[in-house]
Amino acid sequence: MYYVRCSLKSKREEAKDIFSCTFSLNDIKFLQRLMPGRFVMVWLPGIDEFPLSPSDYNVSNSTLRLTFKVRGLGTRSLSSLSVGSSIFIRGPYGNGFRVSKHILQGGSKLVLVAGGGIGLAPLIPLIKDLLQQDVKLHVVCGFRSSNEVFFINEITNLLGDSHTVSTDDGSLGVKGTVVDVVQNLLNKRKVSYVYACGPEMMLYKLHRVLLDKGVPHQMSVERYVKCALGICGACVIDGLRLCKEGPVFNDVHLKGLKEFGRYKRSASGVREPLL
């Protein structure tokens, strides 16, 4: 079996243009192979196929949640599915976030999870995994403006006060970017490890700050994905394939990438400068 059929159980609009769809699927093995940060290819027959990293999954009741921002035809069509209809997924693909005592060692030190905009979605399963570990956890969620804020109830339910919300325009929470908030925290607390997902410019700036302070980290990066099997070369960043070696890269990888923070590639493979 190649594609797994998923049927839409429920749907909700989390914020402007941001939707969560929860699907049920009859494939425990597929769910067991998911890990925080791994991604699935979502196929809407006759429309498109594109990568999403699930924002939740549950092996015991066979559900999978996708949270996505409407950007074009594919995500718009996904957002307008009606309950009961089906989509098809293949995967899961790539290397997710690695969580281990060895990585997170540091006793009283803090582990930070930083999400920018829709980049917060794939971090939820990671946060759940980290809560199982014996670590002190703080989550930073940054948005452009208050109308784009989502998942705050969910984060509060999971973590209580141990999180900070920021908006670039100050319309909710702390005024400033995710990078500003993390920088502030780094000045006040000892941080042993940082996980992040968000727009590449945010990731790049954060990466520079963390390198400077010597804090190890992992970040989930985005590139155009075609085959997801590691054979077509569409998703390559320098010598690494996002669909095989990524989408989560660690500080050592990221440091060596000349294209990180500079270019992405379009469907044709043309390099486009990052804004």
Binding site: Y2, Y3, R5, M41, W43, P45, G46, D48, E49, F50, S86, F88, K226, C227, L229, G230, I231, C232, G233, A234, V236, D238, G239, R241, K244, R265, S266, A267, S268, G269, V270, R271
Partner: protein, 301 residues
Amino acid sequence: MDLRVSIASLSLRHPIMLASGILGTTPSMLIKAYNSGASAVITKSLTMSPRDGYPNPVIARVPCGLINAIGLANPGVKNYLDECLEVKDELTRISVIFSIAGFSVNEYVKVAELVTEYGIGKALELNLSCPHVEETRLFSEDPKLTAQVVRAVCDATSLPVFVKVGLTANISEVVESAIKHGASAITAINTIKAMAIDIRAKKPILAAKYGGLSGPAIKPIALRVIYDLYEEFKVPLIGVGGISSWEDVVEFLMAGATAIQVGTIVYKRGLRVFKDLLKGLMNFMHNEGFSSLKDLIGIAH
């Protein structure tokens, strides 16, 4: 043990190359594949203008291989070459073969001229056989068109020109025409037109409906084509199609291939496949008492 092979002016450290369209959309990955052990690396087929290719899904997995309909997605030859310039020193040290495709004789010529001018490639491989892009497929189905395009490209470049053909009923006429008009080697074969349907979605998987089948399913066919071409023609042959093990490599050499390319197996085994295949080939040669690859080539005839 002597594993070196030469094809026209190209000398290779051993016969195992990376096939066109496999990871070769970026120069960085060509370097990586070469450093992982490929003796030569072929770029993705490049056209004059950038092409997005077909919408996703562009690939379907089947039990015996892959069916792809990438649709010749590529950044366009100029963008590609400019990116190559940034790592020119590294690229000129390795054997890069530029695969080119076009929608007219003139386009092949223009792409070939640009590649020649930049001085990074060691040879050209004309993709005349993409089975899911109608216009390019026609080139290798018609010996007259093959003649025109091969002649025009050979006149426009100083680089050796290899011609990549697909499985057609008149393959031998096409090859004859290519050689007569200047091809220094023949690469065979490209993927074979195929399809896959998802029975639950009740639809063809590929957005383009049809794609090209590659992998173990086509190996016996590719092998037969190389065997036949070796009987008929004198030029070096480059065998490609489903090669997945060192035994397959040996078979292709025995059938008459001077070199081989691997594609689909990279998806299963990653880039370490080059070293594995090479090691198996060397062990075999040692155990069977071959000291030079030349003694192996065509031995099954």
